[in-house]
Amino acid sequence: MTATAEQAGLEQAASKARLARWARPALGFLLPVALAVFWEIAVRMGLSNGRLVPPPSVIWTTFTDLARTGELQTHALATLTRVAAGFVCGVAAGTIVGAITGYSVLSHRLVDPTLQALRSIPSIAWVPLFILWFGIFEASKIILIAVGVFFPVYLGVMGAVISVDRKIVEVGRVFRLSGPAMVRRILLPAVMPAYVISLRAGLGLGWMFVVAAEFLGASTGLGFLLIDGQQLGKPAQIVAAIVAFAILGKTTDWIIALVAAPFLRWEDRFART
């Protein structure tokens, strides 16, 4: 009797936990969904004509239309390719330069001031110069994105390498690790958490810079869809492109977090999101 009651209690607790697992993320959807529903109703009731701010239903139709004709996929793929190429280049450069300047005081003194000065230049300022140097096609766009990705990765890696605990490094010394072994077994795992954060920050900037790049002379890409929508007076297309940006940005960020998670399970974190 008591056993079954206990079991029932356990089951109840389990179903409660299951509910909580789904309910908690769902909480994040509450605000945007409520806003969308509110606007849809407002337009339907004639409180607004919805021409400049299209209601969700119109955006959805535009989105599916673009997807059906294959336009959306083409543009999304073009943008994604640019971001991927720029991200890889930026991460590679940022990691290498960051590791070197973090490790060697001399190279830090030599290189860091210049890089910090370059970092404060607004991204758009580079565009005319890059177009002159690298032409109007892909190269200038990818380089612009790589520049955007470079700085957060550089800063993150450099800071992380500088702040690796001397006491932990001494453990490596006591066990007489060689240079490469020290990097692989002590430095790399120690900088991993900061590195993942800098990668995610870099990716975020990559998505920002791709729009800047595509605003200036592109015939494909989600940024082109934005400009096209503005010039032809199609606000629904603009919002559809923005939604596509949001989905792609969030998904790629999530992929990094997911890939990194097994390397960071050891972290003693204050809160788990």
Binding site: E170, V171, V174, F175, R176, P189, A190, F263, W266, D268
Partner: protein, 263 residues
């Protein structure tokens, strides 16, 4: 045989931390170094470990001058210094990277069993208590079976019960493997529980002030009169090392007021 030959250390800022330390430590001996703060105990231990090099004199182990960490010399720090990204078993096996997998596993398991943490093998360091973490650090240092084990105030951050427990643990491990132990502490009782010989140091600059042989039979009863006597002797030596003695009217020497606060 571990030999310190007039070891001195002057830091770049001109501070002399150690001055002419000469000591011979026999294989299997437990040497405890005790002294007030700033007497260079830790500096000396770091010189023996090869993490720092002395500016004068030299440390010689089995005929080899120590200038960098030596494979037969292990060290346990005041903090456990476990690598947080490795599980307990991998932390313990950290120094056995070159070992065949099977041997490594059995040695790690053996070491964990000796420190009584077999069931924690798959746990992350963050999930351990302070005493457990320090036991893992001991296991990690002992797994490569070093001939010399250096301990830099390894139990000072722990509560009294855990400390006594770990002292007994350490003695058990020492009885198994008989490494040379050189331990720095500022706990007189700890020194007497463990030591074959106690070296009292005095500060500014760090020098050996007095050596006290400690041959109470093991296991040592912390409550016994002999233990208490030894404790008084060491305390008195510490007080003298800090010039805290006065001569009373009837010719007896006693510690000056506040003389007990030697640390």
């Amino acid at each position: 045989m571990l030999v310190l030959d007039r070891v001195g250390k002057t830091y770049p800022n001109g501070v002399r931390a150690l001055d002419g330390i000469s000591l011979d430590v026999a294989p299997g001996e437990i040497l405890v170094v005790i002294g007030g703060s700033g007497c260079g105990k830790s500096t000396m231990l770091r010189a023996i470990s090869g993490l720092d090099t002395p500016t004068q004199g030299r440390v010689v182990f089995d005929g080899v001058v120590i200038s960098e960490p030596h494979e037969e010399i292990g060290i346990i720090f005041q903090e456990p210094r476990l690598l947080p990204w490795l599980r307990v078993a991998d932390n313990v096996g950290f120094g056995l990277e070159d070992c065949p997998k099977e041997e490594r596993r059995t040695r790690v398991a053996g070491a964990l069993e000796r420190v009584g943490l077999t069931e924690k093998a798959r746990v992350w360091p963050r999930e351990l208590s302070g005493g457990q973490a320090q036991r893992v650090a001991i296991a990690r240092a002992l797994v490569p079976r070093p001939q010399v084990l250096l301990l830099d105030e390894p139990f000072s951050a722990l509560d009294a019960f855990t400390r006594a427990d770990l002292q007994d643990h350490l003695l058990g491990l020492w009885a198994d493997l008989k490494p040379t132990l050189v331990m720095v502490t500022h706990d007189v009782e700890e020194a007497i529980v463990l030591a074959d010989r106690i070296v009292v140091m005095r500060p500014h600059p760090g020098r050996v002030y007095e050596e006290i042989k400690c041959d109470l039979p093991r296991p040592r009863d912390r409550q016994s009169a002999a233990f208490d006597f030894a404790k008084r002797r060491v305390l008195a030596a510490l007080d003298r090392s800090l010039d805290r003695l006065i001569v009373t009217d009837d010719g007896e020497t006693r510690a000056a007021a506040g003389g007990g606060l030697w640390w």
